[in-house]
């Protein structure tokens, strides 16, 4: 399912400035660029974790941020699922309680379905401190998905996983895309990863968009 994503804003953090003026329709939009390009800042602005100084953010026809019109949708009402690079699992909760944290009441069916797709049902009673990098990413992904987000943000989900395991995790992300039909913004600095998962790409460098279009634009 493709959704319209409108990002027009300026976000300043110290000496760094991220300026975006894009209007794309995509099922999976890859944000591709080197470290320090502003990829994570872009995700955090969409999630509401950082507030741009000006501009507008509109996802799937819903305006999330437009200070000129006095619109600032609170983080908890944005319906944006976020999987940060470090997964950010709650350290004091078990895997099961992490996954169900944002689930609406009586949604055991969704939790079971997502856990089955991501093959993490067996981890339910484990403490998160004992999970591997790949398991942490899948649990964080499940936790975001059970809230039925309008858009899923994934920040380099394979960065904390060793090369041998990357090929085993990517299929899970594809299953989320194909079986749960969740639109995504997928941040990566690996062109091959972006090609494997996304249909459109936004190329960022030093806080500016330096390329946009289908994934065919990406270097081979």
């Amino acid at each position: 399912m493709s959704i319209p994503i409108r990002l027009q804003f300026t976000l300043k953090q110290g000496n760094f400035e991220l300026t975006i003026n894009e209007n794309v329709e995509a099922q999976v939009l890859a944000v591709y660029g080197p470290s320090g390009a502003g990829k994570t800042s872009l995700l955090e602005a969409i999630a509401g974790w950082r507030e741009p100084q000006s501009g507008e953010i509109e996802i799937g026809g819903r305006v999330l941020f437009a200070p000129a019109q006095h619109i600032r949708i609170p983080i908890r009402q944005r319906r944006i699922g976020y999987v940060p690079q470090d997964a950010l699992l709650f350290p004091h909760l078990t895997v099961r309680r992490n996954i169900s944290y944002g689930a609406p009441p009586h949604e055991a069916g969704t939790i079971d379905r997502v856990s089955a797709i991501l093959e993490i049902a067996a981890l339910a009673d484990r403490r998160v401190s004992g999970l591997s990098g790949g398991e942490r990413q899948r649990v964080a992904l499940a936790r975001a998905l059970v809230t039925s987000p309008a858009l899923l943000l994934m920040d380099e989900p394979l960065a904390a996983v060793d090369i041998a395991r990357r090929q085993r995790i990517l299929p899970y992300v594809r299953r989320v895309r194909d079986e749960l039909n969740v639109p995504m913004v997928y941040v990566t600095h690996q062109a091959s990863e972006a090609r494997a998962i996304a249909d459109h790409v936004l190329m960022l460098d030093e806080g500016r968009v330096v390329g946009r279009g289908t994934v065919d634009l990406l270097p081979t």
Partner: protein
């Protein structure tokens, strides 16, 4: 232990427990508010909360006497406070409050803000974030601060003697009884009371220190 010593010890423990329980919720909320919020008058509130730490306890007692005495602003509430066990609780709570707030606050500040943002992204409101994420992650500091406030309550003398006096069986606490025994030359009584007092204070401070030290080593 004589029945008189037993009565004084049990009374002191009981009022210290009631005082600690009374300040637990407001003290914890105050510590969280100071750690996580910016608001007008914050610096003034921080100063006022800390005043009992640096002011002579007798002066604090005198202020309480004026405020809660029959001619004070809270004097006409319809129930007697001054020179009752409630005055002992009041003095202990006021003197213990800064210790709870100043110990719990760094615990709240050490909880990474990103955990709270993640909980909000999963749909949690501010109070749910506090109850399910921030408080459990800062729990050691809160317990440590509570134990310090409790041990301060056990040792409270100056404010207590002004607002509650030293009425045997009604308001006489361990520290006041030690003073009275010393003044009246009952050295054996004073030594026995001292031993009880030191043992209880040692236990509370030791446990509190273990908890706070473990927090500073392992904030997550």
């Amino acid at each position: 232990m004589t029945p008189e010593l037993m009565q004084i010890t049990i009374f002191t423990l009981a009022v210290a427990l009631v005082a600690t329980a009374t300040l637990l919720v407001p003290g914890t909320l105050l510590a969280w508010l100071l750690a996580r919020s910016e608001f007008p008058g914050k610096a003034l509130l921080e100063t006022v909360v800390s005043l009992p730490l640096v002011m002579p306890p007798v002066a604090t007692g005198l202020i309480l006497l004026w405020v809660f005495g029959t001619r004070g602003p809270f004097g006409g509430l319809g129930f007697e406070i001054i020179f009752t066990w409630k005055a002992v609780v009041l003095a202990m709570a006021i003197m213990g409050l800064p210790l709870l707030v100043r110990t719990a606050r760094p615990g709240f500040e050490q909880v990474p803000r990103r955990y709270e943002l993640m909980a909000e992204s999963l749909g949690a409101g501010r109070l749910r974030v506090l109850w399910t994420i921030t408080l459990p992650l800062a729990l050691r500091s809160v317990i440590g601060g509570t134990l310090l406030a409790f041990s301060r309550a056990l040792g409270e003398f100056g404010a207590t003697v002004v607002v509650a006096g030293s009425i045997p069986g009604r308001t006489l606490t361990l520290p006041v009884a030690i003073y009275t025994a010393t003044e009246t030359g009952q050295d054996r009584q004073a030594a026995a009371l001292l031993a009880i007092s030191v043992t209880m204070a040692f236990g509370a401070v030791w446990v509190s220190n273990r908890l706070v030290y473990a927090t500073s080593k392992n904030p997550g």
